[in-house]
């Protein structure tokens, strides 16, 4: 894997929200590299900071949130050092987003073609109106939609079609890095699969990398190359899909894998013991230790460093500290 080039390199990203009851670091020191053409899956319990991280990578955190520190390198730009206008141009062009769009991600009062053409126009490609329209239609065709869709309003489309349109818009500018936050969670299983295939195909064509956030471990196992497991704003483990499923390192990953339904244990619901953590009352040391079956004394005192194993896996756990 390390023979490929790095597409996105995130270093020590910290995002903070100010709430009534205090500040919470919803993303708390995340570092990882995304390779060119790679598909990285991001999993974790609800509220662990996945969407926050996705927005932070687009530099779209709004008050009361704030990116406290961190770097995000694409090629040789650090996104957080770009000026406002350059960052705007970078969006969709260098780093694009596919939203969880089935219901509400398209502007209801505009025709589909206008929503695509506006994107192209605002990136100053110097195209004529006809060229932009042609490009918009091509984008729709590339996700398997007919050109007629261009003239429609969002409310005239089905959920699956909307999601395809979102993918078409998100990929229209051929970004280097694509962030997809639960892109299919509102769709039925068949449509899910079709949309994922479409996204995968387009991604292959443009050689983009993708960060895919999802709760669907099955989809994850089939679609992505590597899995990043997030817990309370930190990455617990980043491993290839195969390693994560067959030989998980972090106790949290192990538990996560063991909760997956297996036919031989039909009828038994397994869940991770203990409560999902509250950012306001994070325990000292490793945030996972209250629920961790292999917790040691040191886990209650010291936050483990993120280390890279010899196989190139990332893990933050005292079990593996040198």
């Amino acid at each position: 894997m390390s023979d490929r080039n790095i597409a996105l390199s995130v270093k020590n990203l910290v995002v903070q929200y100010y709430t009534d009851d205090g500040r919470i670091n919803a993303v708390n020191g995340v570092s990882f590299d995304l390779m060119e053409g790679e598909r990285l899956g991001l999993v974790g319990e609800s509220g662990c900071g996945k969407s926050t991280m996705a927005l932070a990578l687009m530099r779209m955190i709004k008050p009361p949130g704030k990116i406290l520190s961190g770097e995000a390198w694409i090629q040789n730009f650090n996104l957080y050092e770009l000026n406002y206008e350059d960052m705007r141009m970078a969006r969709a062009h260098m780093i694009g987003m596919i939203p969880q769009g089935a219901m509400n991600s398209l502007v209801p009062v505009l025709r589909i073609k206008d929503q695509i053409m506006d994107t192209i126009q605002d990136h100053k490609l110097g195209m004529s109106k006809e060229q932009m329209l042609e490009r918009a239609c091509e984008a729709l065709e590339s996700v398997g939609l007919s050109r007629r869709v261009a003239n429609m309003y969002p409310h005239e489309l089905s959920g699956g079609m909307k999601q395809r349109v979102c993918a078409a818009i998100g990929l229209a500018m051929k970004p280097k890095v694509i962030i997809a936050d639960e892109p299919t969670s509102a769709l039925d299983v068949i449509t899910q699969r079709q949309v994922m295939e479409t996204i995968g195909k387009l991604q292959d064509q443009t050689k983009a990398s993708i960060i895919m956030i999802t709760h669907d471990m099955g989809l994850m196992a089939q679609f992505v190359d590597r899995v990043a497991v997030m817990y309370a704003g930190k990455l617990a483990e980043v491993s290839t899909v195969k390693d994560a499923f067959t030989n998980p390192l972090h106790p949290y990953t192990k538990l996560l894998i063991s909760t997956l339904p297996v036919l031989s244990r039909k009828g038994v619901f397994v869940s991770i013991p203990g409560m999902a953590p509250s950012f306001l009352e994070l325990p000292a040391g490793c945030p996972f230790h209250p629920r961790c079956p292999s917790a040691m004394d040191i886990c209650t005192e010291k936050m483990p460093e993120q280390i890279t194993t010899s196989e190139g896996r990332l893990v933050s756990c005292h079990l593996y500290q040198a």
Binding site: P63, S69, E81
Partner: protein, 300 residues
């Protein structure tokens, strides 16, 4: 935007005293803070005033008319010989009283009908929904004019309040109805129902604590509507023209040409006090609305 690469601060949760929290809350919800402050100021003004005024001087002919403000009459007197300071102290509360009678009766009716509508469902709900819709579409003030015109000057303060109440219940009824229906679907009510408890009792016990700020906001805006209606009726000469109310002052002030006679104090007293009331009620009501359903937390 620049990003400091400072060391990561641990999440902190500062302890705050109750008072500080309240003050912080008013900072985020200034409407409520300022509105309540205006109310307190009004109460203080009234209490101080009550020690100084003679209620009889609020009636026509009690003092020398058309006197500008002076040491003797600090707000001056109107063209008919009322002491405007007395009117200000007493009339403001009479005006509010009509508002509260109307709003309380209207709210009571609204809560009852809204609850019944949701409770009985079926055709009762269907009919009540139409009635609510009709009453929300009819501009009540137009009917009030007809009613008041027929009843002539025979309406007392309480009577005016009751008539106004007839057109205030529909809004609260609609709100309560939809709240009960949505509470009914909530998990804890469903659970209680499975446990064989009376769901309506639960809703009733759950509903009111939950709805209190909301009903409060509705009540205050109903008061505002009632004060508006009663002042409006007064302007048309349909109010109670004997009692020293602010609306009555407006009526005499406009019909007797206070403006062209240059008696600015006669103009100013009712106008300023009514503005005070309206702004105060508006702020408290929108502050309570905010309390009932806070918008997304704003900056810090």
């Amino acid at each position: 935007m620049t990003v400091q690469t400072s060391t990561v601060q641990p999440s902190t949760r500062p302890k705050r005293t109750r008072l500080r929290r309240a003050l912080l809350y008013f900072k985020r919800n200034p409407s409520l803070g300022i509105g309540l402050f205006m109310l307190i100021a009004l109460i203080v003004f009234t209490i101080v005033g009550l020690f100084q005024v003679d209620p009889l001087k609020g009636y026509a002919g009690a003092v020398r008319g058309s006197q500008p403000p002076s040491a003797k009459y600090i707000f001056g007197t109107d063209g008919q010989g009322r002491d405007l300071y007395t009117v200000a102290v007493l009339g403001t509360w009479v005006t509010l009283e009509i508002g509260f009678i109307a709003a309380a009766v209207g709210m009571g009716l609204g809560v009852f009908l809204g609850f019944s509508s949701a409770y009985f469902g079926g055709w009762v709900d269907n009919i009540l929904r139409w009635v609510i819709d009709v009453f929300m579409t009819i501009p009540g003030f137009l009917i009030l004019i007809v009613l008041a015109a027929l009843l002539g000057g025979r309406v007392s303060t309480e009577g005016t309040g009751l008539i106004i109440a007839l057109f205030l219940w529909a809004g609260p009824a609609r709100v309560v109805r939809s709240q009960v229906l949505s509470l009914r679907e909530r998990q804890f009510v469903q659970m209680a129902k499975l446990n064989g408890l009376n769901d309506m009792r639960i809703i009733f016990e759950e509903l009111f604590p939950n709805l209190l700020p909301f009903l409060g906001a509705q009540l205050i805006s109903a008061v505002m509507g009632a004060v508006y209606s009663s002042a409006g009726l007064s302007i048309l000469g349909l109010g109670n023209l004997r009692e020293p109310q602010l609306g009555t002052m407006l009526y005499f002030m406009t019909t007797q040409g206070a403006v062209v006679r240059g008696m600015w104090w006669w103009v100013a007293v009712p106008v300023v006090l009514l503005c005070w009331l309206f702004v105060m009620l508006y702020l408290i009501s929108s502050g309570m609305d905010e309390l009932a359903n806070p918008r997304l937390r704003r900056r810090q």
